[in-house]
């Protein structure tokens, strides 16, 4: 029992110590970057917005979007990330690059389950 537990812990540690899949830790730069980034006070060409003041975006007809306002007071079109939404996209369902790691960890747990099952049964037969 003790040996199997130690073995399980060692295998887990070996497989996982390289990196864990906290999305914020292992995400590539393009995932973490918001669609475009600018500091408070900068003029944004894409937003046509001086970030010193809050206002809503207006479209060509002058109609203001009624989407969720961000801290800077404007929102982007559907499919474009708004500012301050990184937490939302740092969840596993949105981070495709960790799905392989999830599957790998699952396979590792299954293997460990088999090993523990086998070892504990063998010990009991003795």
């Amino acid at each position: 029992m003790r040996a199997s537990l130690l073995f399980a812990a060692a295998l887990l540690a070996i497989s996982g110590c390289v990196e864990d899949y906290d999305v914020a830790e292992v995400a590539p730069g393009e995932h973490l970057d918001e669609e475009h980034h600018h500091e408070e006070g900068d003029y944004c060409e894409e937003c046509h917005d001086d970030h010193d003041h809050d206002h809503a975006h207006a479209d060509e007809e002058g109609v203001h979007h009624s989407g969720d306002a961000t801290p800077s007071g404007h929102s982007h079109d559907a499919g474009v990330r708004n500012h301050g939404t990184q937490w939302f996209f740092n969840q596993p369902w949105a981070a495709r690059f960790i799905w392989g790691k999830l599957a790998r960890d699952g396979a590792m747990f299954l293997l460990l389950a088999g090993i523990i099952f086998f070892l504990s049964g063998r010990r009991r037969r003795r």
């Binding site: 812990a9 914020a24 596993p92 590792m108 523990i116 049964g121």
Partner: protein, 251 residues
Amino acid sequence: MRTVFTFSLMTLRMLFRRRTLWGILLVILLGLGGIASVPTFDVSNQGRFILDFGLFGIEVGALLLALGLAASLYPRDRETKTIMPLLAVPLSRGQYLMGRFFGAALVQAAALLVSCLGLMLILLFNGLPIPGNLLPATLLILVEGWFLLSTVFFFSFFASPPLNWPLTTMLFIVSQMSVAEFIGLMPSSPGLMRTLRLLLPHADVFHIKDPIAHGFEIEPLYFVVAVFYGLCYSAFMLSLALAVFRGRDLK
């Protein structure tokens, strides 16, 4: 396999006769009813609130069900000595564990399905659309519930039910944490905390209430990967439980 199936049906019938199951189900439905009765004050996107809190309520319900159904199964069998004749001839220890687990897992699935239907009814009564991913989201919560169930079985072989409840709840809470949050519990030992976190599951894998509430589509492949991960971790916990159970002297 047939033995396990028969024993799991026996477990299922036994659990349906218990009042614990009905009590927990009532609490979940009352909680969902409470969420539905919160006034909207004409706030737009009320559906997001109901979905978000409703799925959270179902998740907490999964934890309560796992504890209520399984925490006292083995201790009671041992106390009433019914485990002795069961293990004497008809069942191996593995079959006993699997039979009990599958029985409780089926009951948990039925209860969570009822809760999901309750949430759907609440959305309908409020004139809100039912998202297509609501059932898959409940399936992921169910997989998380099965993981919790296997954890409860693991603890039940060496801890009494009153100790099992806080242990499983603590595991439930820490498995929701990211690595950074978990290290924050003891910042002086980041290496130790990181290693410990590796052994714990990542429960955020099973949570898709945010994208559902905000109308995001989720790729079907994600469900497959998340279910696979959850089932494998449950198998791992069950194998640990069996290893402990096999080492127990029942005399």
